[in-house]
Symmetry: C2
Subunit: 333 residues, 2 copies
């Protein structure tokens, strides 16, 4: 019998908890027989949602926890004091090896702090980065760090480059992934202090395919597979990506409603367009793993719906099968 | 008789020089009788283009300069050695008061260096920022600094906030403009070192309408009128804005071509959509002024077409009429 991948899911985290989280967990269990899910949260509320669905109950169990960490709570304080919260319980399961991974749509800061303190860093990893996939016109690119640790040092960025390469090659399946550092111009002398100090270090790495600088303009066109930057910049990239995308889509919709002619046209283009635009939304590509922790910690958007939760759960399978953490450990040793 | 606004235009700068630059200059002269243009560049090449148009020749003259600064030249070196280049000649005209403003689509670094060294900073201005207008779903917002000086200090950001407020109020006409600092979360304790140090200083300013942090996601929705950040982050914002916009538009076009049905729909929505998408392109809103220099230095995109050149020229009129530099001087004194 094949080995199952056990995933702890924080059923109470995020704006749409527990309904969308539980729904996403059910969909994941129904989609892959390799998955076993432990839904952490208030038993009664979870049961209420589960009643509506059919699923293999042997692979989906509830772990009752009465506490919840809210989105606006102070992360360090919350993780320290709410030992019986759905998030902390999920994290402890990963720490003890009772789960391979955990998925949460809850308080980002708490996921970050808990990932580092409770789950723990892999040996040699200085600062685990958040690493979401960004949609591009050619496929997807991995962005690290999208917000875990601001004011990073050059050595951190070098680790991001290595960890990101391993992830893209083994989880996403991109051979010899192209690594680039976010910069404000292609010329050698451009950049801030951090970029200038990191550049020569990246050039020296023989185990990655470093292609130099990438300007933000070229990111959506997939000029690189692994995009490395400091967390403040990465967070701006991730959020502006989402913001410009949704603003433009809302403008396109408005634009189509301006005349009778365009309204009729809108009806005709709608199905084709929906497909295209869906591909270009960050939500379609699962959550952001906090790479470099023991086990796997995945943070999905606070406003995640079931599909994103499902995708975030499914991405844990490949991660375990491909032994990503063992590979990270090898490369950073 | 009303006073004319004299604008030196670097006819040789940018990917489409001199053709699109000269065309844009002609369009500006034809659109506003308040403008006098001095086209700096190779006389013969400029004349060749001018022959194709009709315009008031009393308000458009050529200043012959034989040298050109290329886009890939080292900025400091180029500005120092190419004294007879179209860019340096334009800058000297502003310095000597022979022109009120200059517009260039050429080497950004050279525009920046020349703006600071040749044209010179206004008294009290520490570091002039590039300040382009970004399109939003509600109108436009001013972004400073979009790339002039990386690794800024808190006092620089405070100046950007003040200068930006004056510009938005007087040139764009936004009353009591809302000022926000780019951050990676709305909570008080979020941010990198620079943001944490700048935040209390901005709160103390009584002459601006500071509303706190803005997340990148909210920028395209016009949550603030003046958006303040360090130049590396600002450059990433400006370029990603353009990149996501053009990637998404190309995907929308591709999406519309996937079936016969959607192709017919595309024909019907095209006119309405074109209008909407045009509004959301940064090129439609003129160039980026380098605010805080004596006179006015405006950098337009390297790939500017005539329309952007024209818009960049026209924005100089309001700048002079509203005595922006006098107001900046007053507020920073």
């Amino acid at each position: 019998m094949e080995e199952k991948v056990i995933i702890a899911v924080d059923a109470m985290g995020g704006d749409n908890a527990p309904f969308e989280i539980v729904k996403g967990a059910v969909e994941a269990v129904n989609e892959s027989t390799e998955i076993v899910i432990k839904l952490c949260g208030k038993e009664k509320e979870i049961e209420e949602v589960l009643k509506q669905y059919t699923y293999d109950s042997e692979r989906l169990e509830i772990v009752n926890c009465e506490e919840v960490i809210a989105t606006d709570e102070h992360p360090v304080q919350a993780v320290r004091t709410k030992k019986n919260s759905s998030l902390v319980v999920s994290m402890n399961m990963v720490r003890k090896g009772e789960a391979d991974a955990l998925v949460s749509a809850g308080n980002s800061g708490a996921v970050l702090v808990g990932g580092q303190i409770i789950v723990g860093r892999l040996k040699g990893v200085e600062r685990p980065p958040f690493a979401p996939l960004l949609p591009t016109t050619k496929g997807v690119s991995l962005l690290l760090d999208s917000g875990a640790n601001v004011d990073a040092r050059p050595s951190h960025l070098v680790q991001f480059a290595k960890i990101g390469s391993i992830y893209m090659e083994n989880v996403v399946g991109v051979k010899n992934p192209r690594v680039a550092i976010v910069n404000i111009g292609a010329e050698e002398e451009k950049g801030n202090q951090l970029v200038k100090e990191t550049m020569p270090l990246l050039k020296e790495c023989t185990d990655i395919n470093f292609i130099g600088s990438i300007e933000a303009r070229d990111i959506p066109f997939g000029y690189a597979d692994v995009i490395v930057c400091e967390a403040f910049v990465g967070n701006v990239i991730l959020k502006l990506f989402e913001g410009v995308g949704s603003a433009l889509i809302s403008e396109v919709k408005k634009g189509m409603m301006t005349s009778l002619r365009s309204k009729i046209g809108a009806l005709l283009v709608k199905p084709a367009l929906k497909q295209t635009l869906k591909k270009f939304q960050t939500e379609e590509h699962g959550g952001a793993p906090l790479l470099g922790c023991k086990g796997l910690v995945v943070k999905t958007h606070g406003n995640s719906k079931a599909t994103e939760v499902k995708n975030s759960i499914l991405q844990c399978v490949q991660f375990k099968k491909q032994k990503i953490n063992e590979k990270i450990q090898e490369h950073l040793a």
